[in-house]
Amino acid sequence: MFESSNSKGVETWRKKIAGRFESKDQYLIPALQYIQGQEGYLPPEAMEAAARHLRMPKSKVFGVASFYAQFNFKPQGRHKITICRGTACHVRGSARLLAKVEENLGVHAGETTEDMSFTLETVACFGACALAPVAVVDGKVSGNQTVSKLKQSISDARAMDSGKPGHKSTVRIAGNRASKKNVNRQTSRKSSGRKGRK
């Protein structure tokens, strides 16, 4: 069975990648980093294009990409909030912190708000346990977090955006459409852990 692919998207990406990297296995990770740098995540057609250019199976490209936590498979929000769920942070109330932020943004950890403004994530330990609980907003690590401090960061970010919606967000929304299919596909898999064998 062959699958139909968006050959136009693949071809555009293939040209971009071919312009930057030789067709050698060792350029897989740099190519993936390049794609993520452009797009904030790895769109399926871009991974397919990388596979084409490097002449390797796309399942391998996905396998390698999924091995590393640094790669995203869904479009990311303009702002990224990461809350630590390590032991030290847990002891100092990171669960409540996370719950409140989830409530505030209306998304669960690992998800992105519908307007593409925030992606909420968790991490196992930042290695800054002395400052627990720790959160990172747009790359800035700050310790001794409280719910109100985080809410402040969120509204600061919103205020920053409201001045200039423009170009960047349209790009992201276009990307979002493509990824929704992908999300659906992934959630349509069944987890054997829950459903058991038939």
Binding site: M1, F2, E3, S4, S5, N6, S7, K8, P44, M47, E48, A51, R52, R55, M56, P57, K58, S59, K60, V61, F62, G63, V64, S66, F67, F73, N182, R185, Q186, S188, R189, K190, S191, S192, G193, K195, R197, K198
Partner: protein
């Protein structure tokens, strides 16, 4: 290879240098447990079950990745090793479900067997059930990843053996599992459904939906589908064929199979729709009749239609013996040379073209030999779908460093492996081949010594291709000039380079020209008669090579001895004790025309289905209906059989002995797996019965005796006997004598015709080009999951579930233009007719549409153009003008 001596458990063992400790131990009958090792895969060292101790090496290295060395001292088992192995098992069990009794692999699972063997009852660790995928998307097998032990055998099989690369290991740690791209269901991936991963999985993580009972016995025979000729081992339970496995002793497939071989090869054999009694038309209806009644009628009508009033179709699906008997019947009993078969429709241009260039119209090198090529040029062959096991071996060769140049307008699976992929406009092959020769000559890359010494006619070609500059060729073919130049240089750089082609080259009105052009290119670079070189037409059907070899053609007896040659005729007249007609007979397309005009009154069709396979089938139907007396001999009531006056039930390949000659000219032996179903008879027996009743006694003890007669009369088959084949001799013709080893590579010292002949050939366009009313180019072909007219594959449950019906491939941009969405119903029309089918967006080039021809409910050949190649009379299946619209 050099041998090294080592000691394993105190035993002195000799092993080949470069082999592993595990291999050395198993050769010495010392058993080391494994989980991730497989004979046909590269060593992996992932499971650590096979650990051993080696004196002087710290720790316990895995024996499957440790190479033997002179004087090495190995211990394969002691308490410490056993403890470590038990720990491996306990860790695996800790996140493995503990419900063996309800597992589909119960009693066949390697993990289970090892826990028992090493006495591990409880893992004694904290149990953690894996949150893993249960993928039930595939109609044939299930992937239950919570039973996966991450041995990666499936992933490695799919990459190393199959070459599809449909699955990889994704995620890491506790969430790791083998999965397709994006983690989708396997059905939506590029999985080729071959089942090799299921065969390799040591646990119940991969299993067939319907595993079937254990066989009572197994018999090895040959796959009835494509020209690759893979060996099968068929399992029989209670008299029914219930499973197929790859034959590890067959040199072609080495135990592996494609989806058709694995599921399609037996599922039709015991199908309830099999014909079991003769049918005779009475008052317009086909009604059951006895063999005597049916044969008496046939004999009476055949007696009235001797000579030019009779024609027969032999069959590329049937063994050599039956084809030989059929042509003998037509010639000796019916006194006509009008016997042909569907080879006319696939490779007649190959036979004509290569015979003119080299003197022999077949694949010049062997399949195995292909792996020695530095560069492979593939054109007009969707190898991984139509000759899957050859495709797999090609992908394997590419992974080992062979470079692929692909000329194909469609985005076929091989495109992802090609160094250069050119999408030529259909019907422009002569132009790009001339273009490559232009560049090779300009750049001084031609092997002129070889050309001077071994070939003739080069000057005219040299002159002709001067005008085929990359720029001009680019305009004709649509391939960028730069790509043409690079392709030419790459092909010329291959020492040696081989050419593989198939119907994309032959099925054109310029088919013979295309073939001769490829022959020119190969000779220009001195690639003929060498290992890893050659011009290799992949023949479509299991026995299309054999059916031609034994004389199923209107102009030649067996071994291509011309009917018009008085000496040859005399030889056959003497052998057959009768006089034979002196003029060549009609080709398949001419037979149908003559039938329509009422000139051919009786037509005898064995195992062919022209109602789907021939171009412009509306016309074919008219011709068959106009035929006064039509006899069809087949295993199912095919579309053609429905029109017959008498239908005779034949046996399948599984119910008989015989020989098939595969695409590389190698003769292989079929073995009877089950007795003929009651009511069915072997084709050659039926024909002999008719001949005898007509007063020309024909009788043979067995297929072996027929083969002996073929050998006697056919120089190239002279040394081929059942005894030799049963002994395991691999015999590719020419094999003139009983002690001849066969000829895997042709034209080594000189060409069969003496000198290789260059032909200067100008490009001419296809017969029917797109215009205002029919703006698209339609091309047709086969797909992985089905075969030919679907008579067998569509009766296979698994193959049917995989691809249940007809579709047309459309480029995304064209789809947008016609506002057609994937999965929507569309109408495709040509000057000859119109059909309705589902749209699949992707894969073809812009302006092109592709329709597989397997499906009677939307027969692609309603649309195709019956215009033929003037020399070979092969119709132009690959190009016609068509119109696409949304269904109302």
């Amino acid at each position: 290879m050099a041998k090294v001596t080592l000691t394993i458990d105190g035993k002195t063992v000799q092993a080949e240098e470069g082999s592993t400790v595990l291999e050395a131990a198993s050769a010495a009958d010392i058993d080391i447990p494994t989980l991730c090792y497989a004979k046909d895969l590269e060593p992996y060292g992932g499971c650590r079950m096979c650990i051993v101790k080696v004196e002087g090496i710290r720790g316990m290295p895995p024996s499957c990745t440790t190479r033997v060395a002179e004087g090495m001292k190995v211990t394969t088992e002691d308490d410490e090793i056993l403890q470590a192995r038990r720990m491996v098992l306990r860790l695996l069990m800790a996140d493995h479900p503990s419900d063996c009794l309800s597992c589909p692999a119960n009693l066949e699972c390697e993990l289970q067997a090892l826990t028992k063997k090493l006495g591990v009852r409880e893992h004694g660790l904290i149990h953690l059930d894996r949150q893993a995928t249960l993928d039930e998307s595939h109609p044939v097998f299930i992937r239950d990843m919570k039973r996966c032990i991450l041995c990666a055998k499936c992933v490695r099989t799919c990459n190393e053996v199959v070459g599809a690369g449909a699955i990889g290991l994704i995620n890491r740690g506790h969430r790791a599992e083998p999965a397709p791209f994006l983690g989708t269901g396997i059905k939506f991936s590029n999985c080729e459904s071959c089942g090799e991963c299921v065969e390799h999985c040591p646990t119940g993580a991969l299993y067939y939906r319907e595993p079937g009972p254990e066989p009572d016995y197994e018999v090895s025979t040959i796959c009835p589908y494509c020209g690759t000729g893979c060996g099968l081992v068929l399992g029989v339970n209670k008299g029914k064929v219930i499973r197929a496995k790859g034959d590890p002793d067959n040199p072609i497939n080495q135990g592996h199979l494609c989806v058709k071989g694995r599921f399609g090869s037996y599922e039709f054999v015991n199908h309830p729709d099999r014909l079991k009694t003769p049918l005779v038309r009475k008052d317009g209806e086909l009604v059951e009749a006895s063999w005597d009644e049916a044969l008496d009628l046939v004999v009476q009508r055949f007696k009235e239609s001797k000579g030019d009033k009779f024609a027969a179709l032999a069959s590329a699906k049937e063994p050599n013996e039956d084809n030989y008997i059929m042509q003998k019947f037509a010639r000796a009993v019916m006194k006509t040379n009008s016997v042909d078969h569907c080879a006319r429709l696939c490779h007649a241009s190959t036979v004509a073209g290569l015979a003119a260039s080299f003197g022999s119209g077949a694949m010049t090198n062997s399949i195995e030999d292909m792996e020695q090529a530095e560069v492979v040029l593939v054109t007009g062959s969707n190898t991984t779908e139509n000759h899957p096991i050859i495709g797999n071996r090609l992908r394997h060769a590419i992974d080992k460093g062979t470079k692929l140049i692909l000329f194909d307008p469609r985005d076929i699976p091989l495109a992802g492996k090609a160094v250069i992929w050119c999408r030529q406009r259909p019907g422009t092959d002569v132009a790009w081949i001339n273009g490559l020769m232009h560049v090779i000559i300009e750049e001084g890359l031609a092997d002129l010594d070889y050309v001077r010494e071994r070939c003739e006619g080069f000057e005219a070609v040299e002159e002709l291709v001067k005008s085929y500059t990359p720029e001009r060729v680019s305009k004709i073919t649509g391939v960028p000039a730069q790509d043409l130049v690079e392709a030419a240089k790459l092909y010329a750089s291959g020492k040696p380079a081989t050419i593989i082609y198939s119907m994309g080259i032959t099925q054109h009105t310029t088919g013979t020209d295309n073939v001769k052009s490829l022959a020119n290119l190969a000779m220009l670079c001195g690639n003929m008669g060498k290992p890893g070189g050659g011009v290799n037409p992949l023949r479509g059907q299991n026995n299309v090579q054999g059916a031609c070899d034994v004389g199923g053609l209107p102009n030649v007896y067996s071994g291509y001895q011309k009917v018009t040659d008085p000496a040859a005729r005399k030889k056959f007249e003497e052998a057959w004790h009768t006089d034979l007609p002196a003029e060549a007979g009609l080709t398949i397309t001419e037979i149908l025309e003559a039938a329509e005009k009422g000139e051919v009154k009786a037509l005898y069709i064995m195992g062919e289905n022209p109602m789907l396979s021939d171009p412009d089938v509306t016309h074919v139907e008219k011709a068959l209906k106009a035929t006064e007396f039509l006899v069809v001999q087949d295993i199912f009531l095919t579309e053609t059989a429905r029109l017959a006056d008498v239908v005779l039930p034949a046996v399948t390949f599984a119910e008989r002995d015989g020989t098939f000659t595969n695409t590389e000219r190698r003769v292989q032996r079929l073995h009877q797996v089950i007795p003929p179903l009651s009511g069915c008879r072997k084709d050659w027996e039926i024909i002999c019965d008719i001949a005898t009743r007509m007063g020309y006694p024909m009788s043979y003890e067995s297929e072996s005796e027929i083969q002996d007669e073929i050998a006697e009369l056919t120089p190239s088959y002279g040394g081929i006997t059942y005894d030799r084949l049963d002994r395991g001799d691999q015999l590719a013709w020419p094999c003139p004598t009983k002690d001849h080893p066969g000829t895997p590579i042709l034209h080594t010292k000189k060409f069969t015709r003496g000198k290789g002949k260059f032909f200067a050939i100008e490009y001419i366009s296809a017969d029917e080009l797109p215009d205002k009313d029919f703006p698209m180019v339609l091309t047709t072909g086969r797909i992985l999951e089905h075969f030919h007219t679907g008579t067998m594959t569509r009766k296979s449950k698994s193959l049917h579930a995989l691809v249940p019906g007809p579709y047309v491939e459309i480029h995304p941009a064209d789809a947008r233009h016609y506002k057609i969405r994937d999965g929507e119903k569309v109408r495709v029309s040509s000057r000859r007719g119109s059909i309705e089918l589902i749209a699949k967006v992707g894969r073809v080039d812009r302006g092109l549409i592709f329709i597989p021809f397997h499906f009677f409910e939307a027969a692609a050949n309603v649309l195709t153009n019956p215009a033929v190649d003037p020399v070979a009379k092969i119709p132009e299946y690959k190009v016609c003008a068509a119109r696409l619209e949304k269904s109302a």
